[in-house]
Each structure stands twice: as structure tokens, then as C-alpha cells.
């Protein structure tokens, strides 16, 4: 029987006396598994709607909103009395930095975004690739979507209030390519954009937008919009929109999408169509023509929505992007939604009257979580360290009761190192049993949330094995390290121990 075999036998026969050590390791494993796998899974399940709405897991934007020097929260709706200027660190400015869709509140100004040089065609990731290639996070990116937009006002019935929306440029051919082999886009009525629509004043809307407070316009009807005129600053990249000077635009609604069931293909697999209720899809060329009408050379890229291969890398990816591109605003949708909720906002696409959001509160809630995460990992390592120490202490106690047995092995010719291997086997096995007992219940919960988030089984398996490897690896390393204590103690036991008791 090998020394590893003897270790296995010893674990089995002494298991009753190792319950405390196994339990300690199981608790540590449970804590660490929760930290590394359950939390991201909960995020995936918890923020799926918002991620769908915003088009990705991480938003990168180089634009900052220029707004009135007046308090945006107090003013509520932009009107002719608003004058737009570059924000300093007033509330609106903070809000603008935090929330990319604040184009609704005012105007946009690029601040060094490489993609600001010109609009990128939808699904053309060249611009984004240039941005993402520079960071390690690139291999975690499943897809990236530059969004070209123009802000619009939609007058509500009675004409006294306006709802803020935006025109989103789409490449019909690229969309069709993305949807190849999939059921989507599911239309509740009408048709999707066609190649021949380019340059035409046509639009596709979200079938659900009416329930979100937008004007009721069915397929075949006409969307009456007000498009604020653009004012270019001293530099061509400085763009502001003057809501006091709007151009009326009429778009014919050719179809309405059922965004509940539509799917589109990404390298990570099919995902629900990413769509915001305030978005009005227009052909890319049409958007450019409207941008010209508003006074711009072409429709600007507002933001880049980045989808990751999995959300476990979310925080690291955001941190890396922030480090690599300090001139850009980078944040996780999950954090944004948290901040929005904490600040009392209802949903990302919202009626201005409903917001009541304090920009300061919102920005404060978007504090990077790096420190908290590091503390979490420190806590995880501490938990495993304590558990490994308990395993080691337990073994030391067990060994003191087995001195004679080990001495007999030494007398029979077992070398010190071989006895140490036997003891280390026991330490590792006890740790691994505890580790597995703590890992799987938590991981099962995580798997349920991942399944509910429509993640493929293959990806779930890879994630699970990865997490299992991390948890077991840490437990193994620490149990080997602290297992050295009883192992060294066993090496010091001499054959004479067996004789003394004779």
C-alpha cells in the first residue's frame, strides 16, 4: 500500500474525528464560491433586462453632456429659456458623466474618443476593436456595438409636454446578417428596415413604447418629432444641441418590433435584441441625412456597448478599460443600474418628469468597486487560511494519537518524506472533501441563475469548471502549505516511539 493509499485509509477511518476540519473547509469554500461565482451569476440574472436595454455589459462613451448651468433636476424639461454650455462639475455634469443616455438632457461633446472621428456602421466593430485591442480585456469581448444617435423630442398629446427619444442608426443589411438563422427580429406588425429604405424617412419602433409613455403611433402611421438643431463649437468635435431651436421631422413607421422575443446573433451565441424603448430605428443613411439637416457632418457615435464573454470578468474588464483610456467614461451596466436604483430613478429610458435624480447621488453610487472586491478576495483567502489551519491543527491532534503507528511505519523502513506524503495526503483530502461540500450547493444556485439567463450549457460547464478549479486550487495550495505543519511533525517521529510504548 503506497503512502498516499495509507493517507486515504487514514482519512476514511478518522473521518469522524475530522468533521470540524471538513466543516471549516466547507464554509470557507462556500464563502469563496459565493464571491467568485454566485455574485456574478446573480448579476447576470438580476440585470439582464437593463443589459438588453443598453446593448451590452460595459458601456464606453467619450461624450459628455453639455447642459444648462441651471439645475437640471429643478428645470425638468428643456425649453427655450435653456442655454447650453459645457458643464463643469455641476450636478448635470456629474449625471452626464455617469449616464450615457443623458444625451436626452442636452447636447453631446466628444472628449478625445477615438471613435469621435466619425460614425461607424452598425456591427462594424473596427472602431471598437481599435479601442479594445489596446487592453487585455479584448479576449473577453464577445461583441461591441457603436451606436450612432440623434436626440429628438416627441410631443405628447396636448403638446404641453415632450418625451425625450432618440434616433438610432441601423444598417438593415448588417442587421439581417446578424439575424441569419435566427427567429428575430420578431415583428408585432409591419416589416423591418430594408436596404431600399436607406435615405428614406422611415422608422421601426418598439411595440412596447406606448406602455412606457411614448406617443401612440401604429405601423403605417407617422411619428411627428422635433429634432434639436446642432451647434458645432470651436472644434468640430464639440457638438451641442439647442432644444429651443427644433426642426420638425416626420417619420413613417414601417414596422414595430416585438423586443420580448427577438434575438440576434453574437459570437457568444444568440441574445435578446438590445433595444431601448426611447429608441427609434432609422436607416443609417437616413440618420446621416438628418444629422446634416441638424447641422452636423454626420451622425455622431454616442457610445459603444460591449458584450463580454461572461460577467465574471466584468469588474476586471471595466478596471482595465478605465486604466487604458482615462479620457473615456467606462462603466458596467450592472453598476449603472445599481446607482440608478439607489438614486431613485425608475428605468434608464424615462420621462424627464419622472427622474428626480440627483446627479451627485448617482455619481457617488458609481464609485469603482475595486477596493471592495479586493477586500472580498482578501476575506476569501483569509477564510481558506483559517480553514486550512483548522485542518492542520486537527491533523496535529490526530497525529499525536497516532505516534506509535507512524513510528512502526518508520521502523519498517518508511522514510520521513514518505510519512510526510501520507500526512499531506490526509490534509489535502480533508480539505478537498470540505471544499467540494461547500462548492456544489452554492454552485448549483449559480447554475440555476445562469440557466435562467439563457447561458448555453457548454458555457455554464466551462464557468463551473473554472470556478471549481479556482476554489480547489486555493484550498489545495493552502492545505498543502499548512499541511506541512503536521507533515513536518510526523517526519520528526522516530522508530524509537514504537519501542518506548512496548
Amino acid at each position: 500500500m503506497s503512502f498516499i493509499g495509507l493517507g486515504l485509509v487514514n482519512v476514511r477511518r478518522n473521518f469522524g474525528r475530522s468533521v470540524l476540519a471538513v466543516a471549516a473547509m466547507a464554509i470557507a469554500s462556500l464563502v469563496v464560491t459565493s464571491l467568485i461565482s454566485l455574485a456574478p451569476s446573480v448579476h447576470q440574472a438580476g440585470f439582464v433586462a437593463e443589459r438588453v436595454l443598453l446593448g451590452g455589459d460595459v458601456i464606453i462613451t467619450g461624450f459628455q453632456v453639455m447642459s444648462s448651468a441651471q439645475d437640471l433636476d429643478a428645470k425638468r424639461v428643456p425649453d427655450a429659456s435653456w442655454t447650453w454650455s459645457r458643464p463643469g462639475h455641476d450636478l448635470a455634469g456629474l449625471l452626464a458623466e455617469a449616464v450615457p443616455w443623458t444625451w436626452q438632457y442636452g447636447s453631446m461633446a466628444p472628449t478625445g474618443n477615438p471613435s469621435a472621428a466619425g460614425p461607424a456602421a452598425l456591427l462594424d466593430t473596427a472602431v471598437v476593436a481599435a479601442l479594445l485591442d489596446s487592453v487585455e480585456a479584448h479576449d473577453r469581448v464577445a461583441a461591441a456595438f457603436p451606436t450612432t444617435i440623434l436626440p429628438v423630442l416627441e410631443p405628447l398629446a396636448g403638446g404641453k409636454q415632450t418625451k425625450l427619444g432618440f434616433l438610432l442608426g441601423r444598417d438593415a443589411a448588417a442587421d439581417r446578417l446578424a439575424w441569419t438563422g435566427l427567429a428575430g427580429p420578431q415583428l408585432s406588425s409591419g416589416r423591418y428596415l430594408e436596404a431600399q429604405d436607406h435615405g428614406q424617412l422611415v422608422a421601426v419602433t418598439d411595440a412596447r413604447r406606448t406602455s412606457r409613455g411614448y406617443p401612440t403611433v401604429s405601423t403605417g402611421g407617422t411619428l411627428e418629432l422635433l429634432m434639436p438643431r446642432a451647434v458645432t463649437g470651436p472644434q468640430a468635435a464639440d457638438i451641442t444641441f439647442d432644444y429651443a431651436d427644433c426642426i420638425p421631422v416626420s417619420l413613417q413607421v414601417v414596422g414595430q418590433l416585438d423586443t420580448e422575443t427577438s434575438l440576434e446573433l453574437t459570437p457568444g451565441g444568440p441574445v435578446p435584441l438590445h433595444w431601448a424603448s426611447g429608441a427609434i430605428l432609422v436607416p443609417q443613411d437616413t440618420l446621416h441625412e438628418l444629422a446634416e439637416l441638424a447641422g452636423l457632418a454626420q451622425a455622431p457615435v454616442n457610445a459603444i456597448a460591449v458584450r463580454l464573454t461572461d460577467l465574471i470578468h466584468l469588474d476586471r474588464t471595466v478596471a482595465q478599460l478605465r486604466r487604458a483610456h482615462p479620457e473615456l467614461v467606462v462603466f458596467a451596466v450592472r453598476d449603472l443600474v445599481r446607482a440608478t436604483r439607489l438614486s431613485g430613478a425608475i428605468e434608464p429610458v424615462m420621462l424627464l418628469n419622472d427622474t428626480g435624480v440627483s446627479g451627485t447621488a448617482l455619481a457617488a453610487n458609481l464609485v469603482p468597486r475595486t477596493v471592495a472586491l479586493n477586500l472580498g478576495m482578501l476575506f476569501a483567502v483569509l477564510a481558506f487560511t483559517i480553514a486550512a489551519l483548522i485542518v492542520a491543527a486537527n491533523l496535529l491532534v490526530l497525529l499525536s494519537a497516532r505516534r506509535k503507528e507512524i513510528s512502526i511505519l518508520r521502523a519498517l523502513g518508511a522514510r520521513g518524506g514518505e510519512v510526510a506524503v501520507m500526512v499531506l495526503t490526509e490534509a489535502v483530502l480533508i480539505s478537498m472533501v470540505g471544499c467540494v461540500l461547500g462548492f456544489w450547493p452554492v454552485r448549483l444556485l449559480a447554475t440555476i441563475t445562469l440557466v435562467s439567463n439563457r447561458l448555453s450549457l457548454g458555457r455554464i460547464a466551462i464557468l463551473t469548471l473554472g470556478d471549481f478549479g479556482i476554489v480547489c486550487g486555493v484550498a489545495l495550495a493552502l492545505s498543502l502549505l499548512f499541511g506541512l505543519l503536521p507533515a513536518i511533525a510526523s517526519m520528526r517521529m522516530t522508530p524509537t516511539e514504537a519501542l518506548r510504548n512496548d
Binding site: 477511518r13 519498517l412 522516530t494 514504537a498 519501542l499
Partner: protein, 228 residues
């Protein structure tokens, strides 16, 4: 002229138990191939200590043991382990079997320590157990065996790696007279038929008929030596 293959040279071992105790004192002993040596003497005379020193189970404070030119003092703990594993089989008064392993695995243990694959080790263990008359009880754990049976298993274990030396510390001290006779007979057979060099510590004279030399110790020194 046959030269000794195991020598104790000026061997000295002391203990501190409130005062300095000379367990073995400046002892010279030569053991020749095929010897059947009985170490005898009153309690505390140092016979067991001498045997442990000769077996490499303990280290002297002075002097050395030389086995076929190999000095124990020049071996580290692992070196002594290798020596015990391959060259010396040791039998204890209280058997010292591993309590959770059956007889067969107890015997197979030293073989696996020496790198023998487990199936092969078990086969060899079965042969050894048959030789000591324990084939029928090889699946039994020590607690299911009588004292005499446990000692037979311990002897089989000591023979596992085919050692040149078989050393035993009071192997019959815990057995009734009938079982003691059987064990003594077994040692005689191992010496005469298998050519093992046997060193036995014993209070009684049960091994005297088998021995060719009887060394009597007193106060850690060699008192008398009888050649038979």
C-alpha cells in the same frame, strides 16, 4: 576464516532519567553470517537497547555499528530507513502490527515501501503467511487474531523484503508456553533452512537450544559469552 558482517564497535548509549543511565557501555560485539545469537540478561541490562542499536532503530551516543562495511553513523535518518527496509527484519514483543490493515496488507506493507506493486506485494505476503502457517487468517485484522497469530504475522512482515538479519525483542514474552515454543521453532527454521542471521533478546531459555551463541549482558556490558 569467516569475518563478521555486523559489528558493534565501542557502542555506548546513555539515557537521562533524573540521573545518567548507561544503557550500553563500550560494547564490542561481532555477529557472523548464519549466527543465531540470543541476548540475555536481567531487566535493565541493556540487551534490548543493544538490539535496537544493531537494528538501526536508535543511535548510540558513542561508538558505531558497522554492517558489511557500512557505518551507521554515516547514514542519515533516510539511510537508516533504507537499511531497515531492506537488510533487517524486526519483530517486537507486542507485535506492532498496523491495527487497521489485515494480516496480508500488514505483511505487504514493507514490500510496497520498497517499491513493489501492491498486487505483487499481496501475492508475496500470502506466500509468507503460508510459510508461518497463517494463510487461512490473512484477511483478519490484528484484533481478530490471537497473540501467537499476531506474532506469526509480525515475523512474516519482518521477512517480507528478504532481509539478511532477523532481530526480535522478546518475541515470546507475550505468549503462553505452547505458542512460545511454536515461535521459537519458527525462528530456528528460519535460521537453519533459510540461512537468516537471527538475533533474539529473551529472558527465557526457550531459544537456547537453537542458538549457537548466547551473550549475557549486565549493566550495559557484555558479561559472558557462551558458544554452543
Amino acid at each position: 576464516m569467516i569475518s563478521p558482517n555486523l559489528r558493534a564497535v565501542n557502542l555506548t548509549k546513555t539515557y537521562h532519567v533524573n540521573e545518567l543511565v548507561w544503557a550500553v557501555r563500550n560494547l564490542y560485539v561481532d555477529i557472523y553470517p548464519g549466527d543465531f545469537v540470543v541476548l540475555t540478561g536481567p531487566s535493565g541490562s541493556g540487551k534490548s537497547t543493544l538490539l535496537h542499536l544493531l537494528a538501526g532503530l536508535d543511535r548510540p551516543v558513542y561508538g558505531d555499528v558497522v554492517l558489511e562495511g557500512q557505518r551507521y553513523s554515516r547514514l542519515d535518518e533516510d539511510g537508516l530507513s533504507r537499511l531497515r527496509r531492506g537488510r533487517i527484519g524486526f519483530v517486537y514483543q507486542f507485535f506492532n502490527l498496523i491495527p487497521y490493515l489485515n494480516a496480508q496488507d500488514n505483511v505487504a506493507l514493507p514490500l510496497t515501501f520498497a517499491g513493489c506493486p501492491m498486487p505483487e506485494a499481496r501475492g508475496r505476503a500470502a506466500e509468507l503467511l503460508e510459510m508461518v502457517g497463517m494463510r487461512g487468517r490473512m484477511r483478519h485484522v490484528p484484533s481478530q487474531l490471537s497473540g501467537g497469530e499476531q506474532q506469526r504475522v509480525a515475523i512474516a512482515r519482518a521477512l517480507a523484503n528478504e532481509p539478511d538479519f532477523l532481530m526480535a525483542d522478546e518475541p515470546t514474552g507475550n505468549l503462553d508456553s505452547a505458542r512460545a515454543e511454536e515461535i521459537a521453532g519458527l525462528f530456528r527454521r528460519l535460521n537453519r533452512e533459510m540461512g537468516k542471521t537471527v538475533l533474539v533478546v529473551s529472558h527465557s531459555d526457550i531459544f537456547h537450544s537453537s542458538a549457537n551463541r548466547i551473550l549475557s549482558l549486565l549493566d550495559g556490558r557484555l558479561d559472558t559469552e557462551r558458544k554452543l
